[in-house]
């Protein structure tokens, strides 16, 4: 328990210092206060300062870098597509800025000793857009649909341990499991945790209308009014929202939100500067960041989530089937330089795919850049004159810059890297574990916010069925431990297993971690109250426009 408290305090301090570093003012702390009940004293000071100033009304216009399916069961990227949560769908729980689970639509829960049942108490007075109330019955209806294999929800594998959902009383439901799942609650902060109205589910079954949930079946602060595929999403306020604002009236403060899909950061930047946008969801390009930092009336800030960059190495083919070569690659990158150049010095180092703010983080050695050692290892592996490899990357964000830098750094170490860029969909399906024709070499990945429960996170990168297990690393002991972690509720016990897993991973080196870069957004000075939580959703319920 002590350890947990210490970790909690440490992460709290870290989180606070990060927000301070980001240059944000009292506004950023007020968001947490408005949104969640479990927020600490630190944020309530901020609340007091801004209560008097909140203005209602207006439509906030934000950009979003890619298209997001509006149907929650059809998300493409679990975290990338969470803007719909910020608008239309509340989840049962949230992950706050400190990477902790917070109740939301689920007020409290108890887990049975054997881990095979979870009883969950739902918040009362929550209504779906179509007017019906959220009760245990409606949630059961929704979960019956989720659990039906014919629904083919994209998150099905995450909830496949649930055998059934029962109604205990009007506002209490019971999840029954075939085996314990320690990360289940955290999973409910993602798409599986959205509650959809029965009527909308019926409509969807009948008509296949992908927008029906966002229009009629959600419980969020905003309701979908118009979706122009690939171009924009327009939403208006939900007048019956269940969370109260600081002025005693229900949230949201805004009349509406409009999301413009803008794939090009430079275009988004010029729209922000001309006033056509109130904020940009993500800015990564150093050039654009610098431009916006210098611009008047615009604030670039770093959010709590972080993006971990790492390299997959295809272990089924040469040269990375040889552990010596993989180790050599570890020494062939200059992590500090990557941080300085690509993250503009605002990144941090982590030894594995976890962040220091997470409870299951284990510290470890950050390997220094040592091209000599890398060359030695390569020679030992049978490549005395160096080795030619390909590095694949997606042509978005800062991946290209990161890869170009890695290419230069690794050249010194005997790796002759050729870069191959492609779009996200191609990259994903080319490198998918299920693709037998995957290329040899490396692929860079940007893991936007590690997931808050260790099983889901490690399964995402190393699972034996994971599309994203691009290194194709399936170690029997690791897989065994992973399954155990899934069923271990006690964090200390789980930590032991995770430490061993990290040990195995660092020994066998299926990936090379590069850095944990910042996630930045750019906001106009008048845009207040937008909240980025650590399950990667951008929340507008407490947002308001100071103009």
């Amino acid at each position: 328990m002590k350890k947990k408290l210490a970790v909690f305090m440490a992460s709290l301090m870290l989180a606070l210092s990060l927000t301070a570093c980001g240059g944000s003012s009292a506004e950023s702390s007020s968001q947490a206060g408005a949104a969640s009940q479990a927020s600490s004293a630190a944020s309530s000071e901020g609340t007091a300062e801004t209560t008097g100033g909140i203005k209602r009304g207006g439509v906030l216009v934000t950009s979003r870098v890619g298209v997001t399916p509006l149907n929650p069961i059809k998300y493409i990227a679990m975290q990338g597509d969470k803007i719909i949560e910020g608008l239309f769908f509340d989840s049962l729980v949230n992950i706050n800025e400190n990477m902790e689970v917070e109740p939301f639509l689920a007020e409290s829960w108890t887990i049975s000793d054997d881990g095979l049942t979870i009883d969950m108490k739902l918040k009362e007075g929550v209504h779906y857009f179509d007017g019906t109330e959220m009760t245990a019955e409606t949630v059961k209806y929704c979960w019956d649909w989720y659990l039906d294999p014919n629904t083919a929800a994209n998150f099905y594998t995450l909830i496949s341990d649930v055998t059934s959902v029962d109604v205990v009383d009007d506002y209490t439901i019971r999840f029954n499991f075939s085996q314990p799942n320690a990360g289940f609650i955290e999973t409910l902060s993602y798409q599986a945790g959205y509650v959809l109205s029965p009527a909308s589910i019926d409509k969807y079954k009948e008509t296949g209308d992908e927008e029906v949930f966002a229009r009629e079946g959600g419980t969020g602060a905003f309701i979908l009014t118009e979706n122009v595929d690939g171009v924009s999403v327009t939403a208006e306020k939900n007048p019956n929202y269940h969370v109260m604002g600081e002025d005693g009236q229900p949230l949201p403060y805004l009349d509406g939100v409009r999301v413009n899909i803008i794939g090009d950061e430079a275009v988004a930047a010029s729209n922000l500067m001309s006033g056509d946008l109130d904020m940009i969801d993500v800015v990564t390009q150093p050039a654009v960041v610098t431009q916006l930092q210098a611009a008047e009336g615009i604030d670039v800030r770093i959010n709590a989530p972080r993006e971990i960059f790492f390299l997959y190495m295809n272990m089924e083919q040469e040269p990375f089937d040889d552990p010596l070569v993989r180790q050599a690659m570890c020494y062939a990158v200059n992590r500090e330089e990557l941080n300085q150049v690509v993250s503009m010095g605002e990144g941090i180092q982590t030894p594995w795919v976890t962040l220091p703010t997470q409870w299951y983080y284990t510290d470890g050695e950050i390997i220094e850049y040592n091209p000599e050692k890398a060359k030695e290892l390569l020679a030992e592996a049978g490549y005395p004159d160096g080795v030619d490899v390909e590095l694949h990357y997606g042509t978005f964000g800062v991946l290209q810059q990161e890869c170009e830098l890695v290419q230069a750094q690794a050249a010194e170490a005997g790796f002759n890297i050729s870069l191959v860029g492609m779009d996200g969909a191609t990259l994903k399906s080319t490198w998918a574990l299920q693709n037998p024709d995957a290329p040899a070499g490396m692929r860079i990945q940007n893991n936007i916010v590690p997931k808050s429960d260790p099983y889901t996170q490690m399964e995402y990168v190393f699972g034996e069925n994971a599309i994203q297990n691009c290194s194709r690393w399936i170690d029997p002991e690791y897989q065994e431990l992973l399954l155990q972690v899934k069923q271990t509720f006690d964090h200390d016990e789980a930590q032991v297993l995770l430490d061993r897993m990290q040990e195995i991973g660092l020994e066998q080196m299926p990936i090379v971690v590069l850095q944990a870069g910042p996630r930045r957004s750019a906001l106009a000075d008048h845009t207040m109250g937008v909240y980025f939580d650590c399950d990667a959703s951008m929340n507008f319920r407490a947002a308001w426009l100071n103009k």
Binding site: N71, I76, A77, G230, N260, S429
Partner: protein
């Protein structure tokens, strides 16, 4: 002449069929599996298989193509694999935008380009010719997105005169529509204007050097009349050809302008669909574009018949 046009229009069918087969083959050659692209982050092999079944990806190529074709013949272009939106809806949403962009750009470029081209030809080797020719060379060289960004910086960011992005349908708000289209049309139109200036100039010079111009002069025809009644009509023929070829290119090129100015047009939709491996959208939009271009060529041929009497009504040039 009517039979001529009908024959041309009928040729759409085999042409479009061939194009659709080529498009289908090309799309399937792209690496990347639509099923893998659409699934979330993890999936067992069974789930991938299931997705493939659903999407019809397990059928053979010819079978998949035939399924699509069957649908088309019944008037059903299918639904987007990505969002479920019916392809026909997507097309009716996007076509008018691209169409308006192209139409306005052509009108803009022609209104400015043809007179300037005539000036260049008439004032050949004078200062004005050199200046205009140099400026049009620069115009051709400037990439449209760069011009677009510059215009945004000037007119939206600095001067706040025009919106940086967005689109308002014309029938909703004509003034708003024009405001959103001014910068995109200008950015697209500049390169086209430059091309038209150069084409007009060279066509006019060619015509002005013809014997019949001297005949006209020898009759005592005034210079201005020589230019406009005797020369221009002849010069327009190659210019119209050049414009129509440019239009075909503009449909693909519109994606750049649509990206910069956030216009919900067909070009961008097509490119996005290709990235997302959204086969029905790609096939449907390719079909529409192919038909459009063929109609355009037919229209141009008809215009030729009207302008150039040497192209007789049977379509053969004497």
């Amino acid at each position: 002449m009517a039979t001529q046009i009908v024959k041309k229009l009928l040729s759409i069918i085999p042409l479009v069929l061939i194009i659709s087969i080529i498009m289908f083959a090309l799309i399937n050659m792209l690496p990347g599996d639509a099923a893998l692209a659409l699934l979330g982050d993890s999936g067992t092999l069974e789930q991938v298989e299931q997705m493939r079944e659903e999407l019809g990806l397990n059928d053979s190529m010819p079978a998949q193509y035939w399924n699509w074709l069957k649908g088309v013949l019944q008037g059903d272009l299918g639904d987007s694999m990505f969002t479920g939106q019916p392809v026909i809806d997507r097309i009716t949403e996007r076509m008018p935008v691209t169409f308006e962009l192209i139409l306005l750009s052509v009108v803009f470029a022609t209104i400015i380009g043809v007179p300037l081209g005539i000036v260049c030809a008439v004032k050949r080797n004078h200062m004005s010719d050199y200046i205009l020719s140099a400026v049009s060379m620069v115009g051709v060289a400037m990439p449209a997105f760069w011009v677009g960004m510059l215009l945004i910086i000037l007119f939206s960011t600095k001067l706040h005169l025009l919106p940086a992005s967005g689109y308002v349908p014309f029938f909703e708000d004509p003034l708003g529509n024009l405001k959103t289209m001014v910068l995109p049309v200008f950015a697209t139109g500049i390169a086209l204007t430059a091309t038209i200036v150069r084409q007009t100039r060279s066509a006019m010079l060619d015509v002005l050097g013809q014997d019949y111009m001297m005949t006209a002069k020898s009759k005592g025809v005034k210079y201005r009349v020589q230019l406009f009644r005797h020369a221009l009509k002849n010069a327009l023929i190659p210019v119209i050809t050049a414009i129509s070829m440019q239009i075909a290119g503009m449909i693909g090129g519109s994606v750049v302008i649509e990206t910069v100015f956030l216009l919900p047009g067909m070009g961008k939709s097509m490119v996005d669909a290709i990235f997302q491996r959204d086969y029905p959208i790609v096939m449907g939009e390719a079909l529409v574009i192919a038909v459009f271009i063929i109609l355009l060529n037919t229209l141009v041929d008809v215009i030729y018949i009207f302008i150039d009497p040497r192209i007789s009504h049977s379509g053969k040039r004497k």
